[in-house]
């Protein structure tokens, strides 16, 4: 997990700063993003929410698939046996909450997951608490109840199947998925 965070911390600002120099693809309005210099690797992977520059809408539906937009990021990671959303994921949740507010017809399914250790039933409940925590955060930020559904997959659908802490950390996760993605 730590390596993943460090990689994100390096890669994200690079991606974002690189973005401003890239011309937007004609059929897909690019996200105008504040120019940011790469920061020290100890900084958590805080990504600035998209800021509109001119007539480009950072909350356009196409941004969900734009790898340069924060909206293309969907994972919220949790600590072992925890279901508190960590501060480092708050900008991500804020961006998706804003997207849901600006696109009231869009619907989201949040899938909560747990690592393989411990009881399957407890992990099913834990995944439920995780997806519910993401949902609550989105609702507090203005998303509507009928837009967001939370479910748990427990430990049944692991993304990574090695018995290592790195792998387990990837599986302790909430995924924010939009219609057509699940």
């Amino acid at each position: 997990m730590r390596t993943l965070l460090v990689t994100l911390a390096i890669a994200l600002p690079l991606l974002i700063s690189g973005c401003s120099s890239q011309p937007a693809a004609p059929e897909q309005p690019g996200a105008g993003v504040e120019d940011r210099k790469p920061t020290a690797i100890t900084t958590p992977p805080v990504v600035q929410p998209p800021i509109s520059t001119g007539n480009v809408d950072p909350y356009d539906i196409a941004e969900l698939k734009n790898p340069k937009s924060i909206l293309s990021k969907r994972n919220v990671f949790f600590d072992f046996d925890m279901y508190i959303v960590k501060d480092e994921f708050k900008p991500l949740i804020e961006a998706h909450a804003k997207f849901l507010v600006k696109n009231p017809k869009m619907k989201m399914l949040i899938q909560g997951n747990a690592d393989e250790r411990g009881s399957r039933e407890y992990n099913l409940a834990l995944g439920g608490k995780r997806s519910e925590a993401v949902k609550k955060a989105l609702l507090l930020l203005g998303a509507k109840e009928d837009q967001v559904e939370s479910v748990s997959l427990g430990e049944e659908k692991p993304r990574c199947t090695d018995a290592t802490e790195e792998c387990w950390a990837q599986n302790r996760r909430g995924d924010m998925l939009y219609s057509g993605e699940y």
Binding site: D81, L109, E116, R117, G118, S119, R120, E121, Y122, L124, A125, L126, G128, K129, E132, V151, S152, L153, G154, E156, K157, A163, G180, Y182
Partner: protein
């Protein structure tokens, strides 16, 4: 939600190929095993041999017995000389029997059990059976011998249920307690968890994800028919039968968190049992039906609690450590098996309810899903060895151990069926 075609096969009685059968390996035996000599049963050779080998296998694998060679002796009426010979071989008990063909595909099997030091017959039985009931008959003989010599009922005639996961496929299987006769009751591309036997042994309640979310089903094994017992908004899981088989305790998230409810086995009469702001899950009735034991993180970490079966105030049961889950009561209500985390290892643990003394029973690190044998002497559980899901059994003193595995697949979520009269 996009509707995908989901593959679910309901199977009433589908025998599995030999490679899919559970294989059993003894990994620990009791300290004082009873030396018993089992003569080759007399009669139609191929039939009697099968019977004898099943009885020998049962008794030896149980960890309570050591087999002693009977030599050429094979009589149900041993002489004083025969007994003296058995004594010198070190046998404490002697079993002899025979099989008679009574008609087309019909047999009569008889046996007698002797106490060698006392030179006394301890009893015997005659069973009429068909050629497809050979193993069943042998298990009943083993049950008789086990009970006479150890004082507790045998569990060789019982069945177990478990889930086998191979690539992209989950199967709910039912097998004899020795792993033989495995049959699939349900096959699905989505996970199946938490199977549990109805007290009369005719049904399994379980959780299937085939509808892309957890739903509780009750499945009749003889007919292969099933019905939805709980499918509310959100997740439906962790079914547990009341001792009279009429109600199920389940966990629902329809009102928010994972919370405990009870309902009739047909899905009617839903009643909320408890309220907490955190997770409540894994209910299990005490054998007297008075209590429901469950896992909750209401105190900050997952611990075991119990509440009256009709509701009331919950009381905490486990206090040591920061992770105690999956409470399972022994049939006599004296012991509680559960999984505790110790230095990062998840281990099968046994608590004496009266003294609250606990003992870790295993040396594995990923134990889950304990289930008591109907005689309360052995626990069946899931674990992992070399990255492979296996089942284990362990006696409640931690000495007698077996490993049950399936070739090229993970086996998990075991549940030991009841003793049928």
């Amino acid at each position: 939600m996009k509707v995908r075609h989901s593959f679910v096969a309901l199977l009433a009685c589908a025998a599995l190929p030999a490679g899919a059968q559970l294989s059993i390996e003894i990994t620990g035996a009791g300290a004082n095993r009873i030396p018993v000599s089992i003569a080759d049963f007399a009669g139609e050779r191929i039939v009697s041999q099968a019977l004898t080998s099943v009885v020998r296998g049962d008794l030896e694998r149980s960890g309570w017995f050591r087999l002693v060679e009977p030599g050429t002796l094979a009589t149900m009426e041993p002489t004083a000389g025969n007994i003296a010979d058995l004594k010198t071989r070190g046998a404490d008990a002697y079993v002899a029997g025979g099989v008679l063909q009574t008609g087309e595909g019909r047999y009569e099997s008889r046996f007698r059990l002797f106490d060698v030091p006392k030179q006394a017959a301890l009893g015997g039985h005659t069973y009429a059976h068909g050629s497809n009931q050979l193993r069943t008959t042998a298990h009943r003989i083993s049950d008789f011998v086990y009970e006479k010599l150890t004082g507790e009922p045998g569990v060789f005639s019982t069945r177990i249920a478990y889930v086998v996961k191979s690539t992209g496929r989950f199967e709910l299987q039912v097998a004899d307690a020795d792993g033989m006769n495995a049959q699939a009751a349900l096959a699905s591309r989505e996970p199946i968890i938490s199977p549990t036997w109805s007290p009369d042994g005719s049904k399994l309640a379980y959780v299937s994800f085939e509808a892309k979310k957890p739903v509780v089903y009750v499945h009749d094994l003889a007919s292969g028919r099933r019905h939805v017992a709980a499918n509310f908004k959100g997740s439906n899981s962790a079914p547990a039968w009341s001792p009279d088989g009429k109600r199920l305790a389940v966990v629902l998230t329809k009102d928010g968190n994972s919370q405990l409810y009870t309902l009739n086995a047909d899905g009617s009469g839903v009643n909320r049992l408890a309220s907490s702001s955190g997770i409540d899950t894994e209910p299990q009735y005490s054998p007297d039906g008075q209590w429901i034991y469950f896992t909750s993180d209401r105190g900050g970490s997952p611990q075991i609690y119990r509440i009256g079966a009709a509701g009331g105030n919950a009381e905490r049961v486990t206090f040591e450590g920061s992770y105690n889950v999956t409470p399972r009561l022994s049939p006599d209500g004296r012991n509680m098996a559960y999984v505790s985390r110790n230095n990062g290892r998840f281990q099968l643990t046994l608590m004496d309810i009266a003294t609250k003394q606990s003992q870790v029973l295993t040396d594995t690190a990923k134990d889950e899903s304990p289930s008591f044998a109907p005689n309360g002497r052995t626990l069946l559980y899931a674990s992992e060895i070399n990255g492979r899901g296996v089942l284990g059994t362990v006696s409640i003193d931690g000495r007698i151990k077996q490993k049950l595995s399936v070739q090229a697949a993970d086996v998990r979520e075991p549940s030991w069926g009841p003793q049928l009269k």
